[in-house]
Amino acid sequence: MNIRLLSISLLLPLIPSLLPAQTLNPEKLLQPPTDTWPTYNGDYSGRRYSTLTQINSSNIGSLSLAWMHRIGVGEQRGAASEIKSTPLLVDGVLYFTIPDHLWAVNARTGEEIWHFDWVDHGGHLTGQRGVGMYGSWLYFLTPDGWFISFEAKDGKVRWKIQVADAKLQYFTTMAPLVIRDHVIVGVGGDAMDVPGYLESRDPKTGALQWRWNTEPQVGEPGAETWPNAGAMGHGGGMTWLPGTYDPELNLLYWGTGNPNPVYAGQGRKGANLWTCSIVALNPDTGKLVWYFQGSPHDTHDWDEVETPVLFDAVIKGQKRKLLAQAARNGYFFVLDRTNGKNIVSAPFVGVNWSKGVDDSGQPIPNVAKEPKTDGALMNIDGGGGTNWNPPSFNPDTGLFYVNANYGYSITYLTDTDAKPEGYGGSARTIWSQAALEALDYKTGKIRWSHFFPSKGSGRAGILTTAGKLLFSGDPSSNLIAWDPETGKILWHFGLSSPVSNGPITYTLDGKQYLVVGAGDTLYAFKLIK
């Protein structure tokens, strides 16, 4: 390098527009997200907590719309298109998705830089959570099981590999999680009784590094929780939401979905490991280190994929490495993430599917409330106490926040065969009530809750910040800022649809932005100055 070039390169940091663009520094994945939102949850912890304070509880009244970006895709297979993905923000560019589509837009203006449109051949269009990034490459999953890598700068496809077979009713929706030289990829699919798995793939080539199966093989530990190899080999347990990672312990945490057939458990007697569990894996080998099963022998579609949120906090005077999850089955779990030992199990909505918890903190299913041909009345929403929508943990308040659904539902068994197939039953929600809840990690007690007067389910993600703010949405299309300590509403803004993703925040050009997806539109906010 000659002197002249050297002097130019020394000047580069002062001239943002000349920086080599659209490259993620891997160090950013290990830091609190500020000028970058480099992974689905912002960082590996899953807390969705930002240290930024420019937008705060004293100036929130000046928060205003900076730009909107409407995707203009229209209906997808008869359903309105909806942004459920959490955008990544790297070098001033936002990358976000819906099923079959990936966009790069300018984070200052919402201007589209490029757009990728995939023609699928099957698979479910239930949602798309976003992309993963490694250096200058992006990773995206299609409904029909294709794992595609892109050049971030122009959206050029580097390669594509099929990682799940849509003909077997697998589909893929999750945001790939990048950990060092691993891209972790999970799958969905429970229409046709296929086994779940989680894979690690090479960021350069997409080649398989390891695969962890959510069911054991014959003769392995855990196989005793299934009646036979056939049930175990078709046992479900999908891995459809991104997990979290502790770099110090080098443990990858993941939630697994419900067993199959979903509502008909008569052909799979036993606890059905490792479905409906939180598992800790070695990210270099895919070996299981520990597990905690929140819904043994599930018959209610209680996917336990909800984000396992990692934080260090004090329990009975001792600083502990913790993992907390508000599970779809209505229980809030706090575990010691070094070994999976349970610390707290407490319901945050009605949980009459269980008879309480045992000494290990594991809920005990209530056989009387398993699906029945003539119906069993459940005091929980048919879709569960919460769902995939991201929660948040705020270290300033010590509270875990979740959008919960109270409800009543009837659950039916429709396939009474000794060897049932598919869902084998259904749940019919008859009444529901959405609420934002703040849970005390030490006890699981509800510190405060906000019951929405609006009708409809709560499906918004949550973001908390050091600016003493909690951002989320209500079922009637309001984006709302709360005081995370007290639950008092401080600000709101009416959108065209309910918040449908996890909001993010970042600093760009010295300004703090808040970005949220609602229906077919991405909205960016900043302070009016």
Partner: protein, 297 residues
């Protein structure tokens, strides 16, 4: 955590919920739901429409040829069921509903050669006399078996009328206090002639859960009285409310809206009785009450 404490938490939760202003919510069965959005999708009208919509959403492709499937069922029963089971879910031979080969098959392109040639190494004989048309029918039968398992929009709730009608009548007139608002010869006369038992079950539990539920549909509407700072009050049917605004339509059909923090709002939910009973029913109460209501032909 001990059990008593858990119970007390549950009680607190229920109290918190039951003190809320209550609202109607329509939700389909999860038969037609997406994996994560049980309550968000309105149920399509009619069973066939629901099945088609679910198939499209799940990416299942076109429904198999029903006539061919019926012909194939006979062929299967006569030739294949002995080893593969009456429902093709396996016996001595493998489960064909979950078979990767069958799932990948298109119009017998993969199934045909296996049937024709057999699998001598695994003990399956060849069925070389099957015609192309018969292979197609056989394949359509297997694809129909898969379709009916994978498409939860086709699932049918079975017999839900299992309770004791006498006990249900006693509950109606006694513990349930249903007779305070309803009469078997009045608003509920012939209700069982108009609704399928499963819908009737959902409807008595929470009437607004069944779209357009007849006898009492008008009565689902929440009545709201808004008192303005001037002291003037306006009553009407609640249209929409959130934490910030409320809107209603008064008896003359006039629409009104106010910021929530500028007015006093009192909402009367005509379904509060139904909501409160949800906390009290045993499953036996639910089944008995339905058994009684289905006698109201």
């Amino acid at each position: 955590m001990n059990y008593a404490r858990r119970i007390s938490i549950s009680v607190v939760l229920f109290l918190a919920v039951s003190l809320l202003p209550l609202g109607a919510q329509t939700a389909g069965t999860t038969a037609a739901k997406s994996k994560e959005t049980a309550a968000e999708q309105p149920p399509p009208k009619g069973k066939a429409a629901r099945a088609d919509k679910t198939a499209i959403f799940l990416g299942l492709g076109a429904a198999p040829d029903a006539a061919a499937s019926d012909r194939g069922a006979k062929l299967f029963s006569a030739n294949c069921a002995f080893c593969h089971g009456a429902k093709a879910t396996g016996g001595e031979g493998p489960d064909l509903v979950r078979s990767a080969l069958v799932l990948h098959d298109e119009k017998a392109d993969l199934i045909g050669p296996v049937v024709h040639n057999g699998r001598p190494d695994k003990g399956m004989p060849s069925f070389s006399s099957f015609t192309e048309a018969q292979l197609y029918d056989l394949a359509e039968f297997l694809h129909m078996r898969i379709y009916l398992a994978a498409n939860r929009g086709t699932y049918q709730v079975q017999d839900v009328v299992t309770g004791d009608p006498k006990a249900g009548e006693a509950y109606f007139n006694g513990a349930g206090r249903c007779k305070m608002c309803h009469s078997p010869s009045g608003d509920l006369a012939h209700v069982a002639a108009k609704y399928q038992p499963a819908d009737l079950q959902a409807a008595f539990l929470y009437p607004a859960s069944v779209t357009g539920f007849g006898p009492t549909a008008k009565r689902h509407e929440e009545q709201v009285t808004v008192t303005l700072p001037s002291g003037q009050s306006v009553s009407g049917v609640l249209k929409r409310q959130d934490d910030f605004n409320i809107s209603m339509v008064d008896s003359s059909g006039q629409y009104h809206s106010w910021p929530r923090n500028s007015v006093k709002v009192v909402i009367k939910d005509p379904l509060a009785g139904h909501r409160n009973l949800l906390d009290q029913y045993t499953d036996a109460d639910m089944h008995n009450l339905l058994a009684y209501l289905v006698t109201l032909k």
